[in-house]
């Protein structure tokens, strides 16, 4: 029998006449993890922050009830509308928080020891010395290497994963009943993510803490949660134990989310003839400043080669050499029969036409002061590809249509479009030059999963219809499975494995590749303990 730690009933949040959260109810019990899942704008963070009294938005009105379970004989504490004093006692003392961005969530000027001991001193009335001992225990519990020496150190001396461990230590310092984790692994590499997931699970088992884990990633939720609440547009559309949600989803939105996830075990793209000519040949690519060492691969025409790796692997640097943003120190690359490196003058301009680029962030990929039509039409102007204004406008309309956008969007500004729409515009712009090769650098990584699915469909469709060749750079192996014919795995600037996708996913040869694949959250959720 488990006791309810947090009981939320009909929670409502309204900000300046807009209802963000519309009557959400949920329960979390001791030793249990509740996964709160939703895409951007679903209100998942706001729901949990409002339920725990940490919401800090100006003009926000919170209604409903959120009761933190009573300890022993004492009655539960109502958190909605609670006094600041009550909330201060609860925050850190009975509820611990871990947030998304480990890079900025720790005070750069304070030692790690201070940042852990200050909540011990505030809630547990410990002396400095007692608190220090406890802080050391906590750092050991979160498996931080060399905890003694780290105590006197500062956040900037740690990696992202290590900082997140420290955040967890801080959150659990006063042995709270409830731990709130808001997208804690979203900014981390997939291998680090797996470690943090395992850590939280073990700590939960050891301390009996209830956990609320917020994420947009169903795969992660599948690994951590015992029960799931799916949020859409401020409402809880589905609430069930984990296996039910994954195997027998009831709400159409949940089904949509589940189906939109690309799977490692799923299908790849339509096959490409084995004797298709090679379009791009890269040999011995080396750059000292970016730590890229001897990278070689080939891409067949109308196929997709994926460049996979974690942060620091050098995959984006490879793309930069191909687009002229970075001069390699050694190596050759040929597109068809033309040289790619070291080209200047008129030849360079012609080459730029043949390779185009789509970047990751839809918000900074478009000039905020330029209309969509002008942005998409810019390459047409630069390379004189359309006859006059009229011709340009027609071409732009055609391109927008090709990426599934209405032609009248041409007169809009980027801030009027959603993230998915902006990425489509970037793709349209990349298509404007009629390129031979398109480089997609994490182009769907910042999109919601359902939006991502549609954009990936679009890309596959374009490849099929126009015979486009893609260099697909990603860290998400499931997406890579869906899109690629061949895969290059990079680590620390070197090629670790280079094989056709089917072979690589079925039987990876290298240890590192195996570790990467193992770290990917599987399709089916783990069995709850």
């Amino acid at each position: 029998m488990s006791t309810t730690v947090l009981s939320v009933r009909d929670l409502r949040v309204r900000i300046r006449r807009r209802d963000i959260v519309r009557g959400v109810s949920l329960d979390v019990a001791r030793e249990q993890t509740l996964g709160v899942v939703g895409e951007s704008g679903s209100g998942k963070s706001m729901t949990v922050l409002a339920a725990t009294g940490l919401l800090d938005a100006p003009g926000a009105v919170v209604g409903g009830s959120s009761a933190l379970g009573g300890v022993g004989d004492s009655p539960p504490t109502q958190l909605v509308g609670a006094s600041a004093r009550t909330l201060r006692r609860v925050h850190g003392g009975r509820i611990g928080f871990v947030f998304q961005d480990p890079g900025t969530s720790l005070n750069p000027l304070l030692t790690l020891e201070r940042q852990i001991t200050e909540s011990l001193q505030a809630h547990r009335n410990m002396t400095r010395r007692q608190a220090r001992v406890r802080a050391l225990e906590l750092l050991e519990a979160v498996r931080l290497p060399e905890p003694e020496s780290r105590l006197a150190g500062y956040p900037h001396q740690l990696s992202g994963g290590q900082r997140q461990r420290v955040m967890i230590a801080i959150a659990l310092a006063c042995d709270p009943e409830l731990l709130i984790a808001d997208e804690p692994t979203t900014s981390l590499d997939v291998t680090t993510q797996a470690q943090i997931i395992a850590l939280v699970r073990d700590l939960q088992r050891d301390f009996g803490t209830a956990v609320v884990w917020i994420s947009h990633d169903l795969g992660v939720i599948g690994q951590v949660a015992d029960a799931v609440t799916v949020l859409h547009d401020g409402e809880a559309v589905e609430q069930a134990p984990i296996s039910e949600v994954f195997e027998k989803p009831r709400h159409p939105y949940t089904r949509q989310l589940l189906e939109a996830r690309p799977q490692i075990g799923g299908d790849g793209p339509p096959a490409v003839a084995d004797d298709a000519p090679v379009l791009l040949r890269v040999a011995g690519l080396t750059s000292a400043e970016r730590r890229v060492e001897d990278v070689s691969f080939q891409i067949r025409r109308a196929s997709t080669l994926a460049l996979v790796g974690e942060s620091g692997s050098g995959k984006s640097s490879v793309a930069e050499t191909l687009t002229g943003l970075l001069e390699p120190d050694a190596g050759t690359a040929t597109l068809g029969d033309a040289d790619v490196f070291g080209v200047r003058g008129a030849g360079e301009k012609a080459l730029r036409r043949r390779i185009s680029l789509v970047l990751q962030d839809p918000f900074t990929s478009l000039d905020p002061r330029m209309r969509i039509g002008t942005a998409v039409g810019e390459p047409l102007v630069v390379h004189r590809l359309a006859a006059g204004r009229r011709g340009r406008r027609e071409r732009v309309a055609g391109l927008l249509e090709m990426v599934g956008l209405p032609a009248d969007l041409a007169s809009a500004y980027p801030h009027e479009l959603s993230g998915g729409q902006r990425q489509r515009v970037s793709i349209a712009r990349a298509l404007a030059v009629e390129p031979d090769l398109m480089i997609l650098d994490e182009s769907t990584a910042s999109l919601d999963v359902s939006v991502q699915e549609r954009v990936l469909d679009l890309l596959l469709g374009l490849q099929r219809d126009l015979g486009l060749t893609y260099l697909f750079i990603a860290h998400d192996l499931a997406v890579v499975r869906r899109m690629s014919h061949d895969v290059v795995v990079m680590r620390d600037g070197e090629v670790v494995e280079y094989r056709p996708a089917g072979e690589l996913f079925a039987a990876p040869e290298q240890e590192y590749t195996r570790a990467l694949l193992a770290a990917v959250p599987p399709e089916l959720p783990r069995c709850p303990t």
Binding site: R352, I355, L357, V358, T364, E378, P379, S426, R429, A430
Partner: protein, 272 residues
């Protein structure tokens, strides 16, 4: 707030242009008998030690001050923004050299440098314009350069480059429109400071030269009569205050609209 200050600026501008018609008396109509008269029906702001109508002199001085401020800031804008954009966009040696020059100029407090320049050339309206213009050039260069640098590394500029867009095209279509915001804000603020600087120079007798009226010089003359004729020191000072305040408020309002990121301290370090 922006609208109010804009309206105020419009009024001041109109006053500047029509001062000669608005003025009830001549600028140098001396009337020793009527000297040091407090504000009254015939002399709205009183008279000075030579019996001259203060209201007239304040109004006409508006013209001179605004003229100098606008001309000086125009100079600083053209030279500074060009230098800043070139330095930021081209980088390398050009950037290093231009910025060292800017740094040297920044090592001098504003008024000191202006005084030094005035010391070299004889005092007068043209010299004042040149002195203030030269002194304010570095800050335009810094603001323009900082903005150019940050726009230059934006992904949309990178993508444009990879698509083969030429440097001039990128400069004109991406860089300039996106640096316009901070630069315009700086223009408004510099206008405010230019008026203060001109007033200070005129106060010291090194700006607008008598018999041309100037707010600063009027304050200097007022010093000897502080307890006898408070109106001599209050009104010209108030004129400076109101004009500078209007430009400052307008610039602040613009900043909220155009470039909220400018408020950080790192910007302050670079902008002095």
């Amino acid at each position: 707030m922006t609208k109010v200050s804009a309206a105020l600026l419009a009024v001041i501008g109109i006053v500047a242009i029509t001062a000669d018609w608005l003025a009830p008396y001549g600028v140098n109509d001396i009337d020793v008998a009527g000297a040091l008269q407090p504000p009254s029906g015939s002399h709205l702001l009183g008279t000075d030690e030579l019996g001259r109508d203060i209201a007239t002199r304040v109004l006409v001085a508006t013209q001179a001050s605004l003229q100098i401020a606008v001309a000086a800031v125009a100079f600083a804008f053209v030279v500074g923004v060009t230098a800043g954009v070139v330095a930021g966009y081209l980088g390398g040696w050009t950037d290093a050299v231009l910025m060292r020059v800017v740094d040297v100029m920044f090592a001098f407090p504003v008024l000191l440098l202006a005084l030094a320049i005035v010391a070299v050339l004889a005092p007068g309206t043209t010299t004042t314009i040149l002195a203030i213009g030269i002194v304010y050039t570095p800050i335009f260069a810094r603001v323009a350069r900082a903005s150019t640098l940050s726009v230059r590394v934006e992904p949309y500029v990178q993508v444009s480059r990879t698509l083969g867009t030429g440097r001039i095209h990128i400069l004109g279509r991406h860089i300039l429109p996106n640096i316009a915001g901070p630069v315009i804000v700086q223009t408004s603020l510099s206008l405010a400071f230019a008026i203060l600087s001109e007033a200070a120079l005129s106060f010291l007798g090194l700006g607008i030269q008598p018999p041309e009226p100037s707010w600063g010089r009027m304050l200097f003359d007022a010093q000897g009569f502080m307890h006898r004729a408070w109106w001599m020191s209050v009104f010209p000072g108030a004129a400076i205050f109101v004009t500078v305040l209007a430009f400052n408020l307008f610039g602040d309002g613009l900043r909220d609209v155009l470039d909220p990121k400018q408020r950080t301290v790192t910007a302050a370090r670079k902008n002095q």
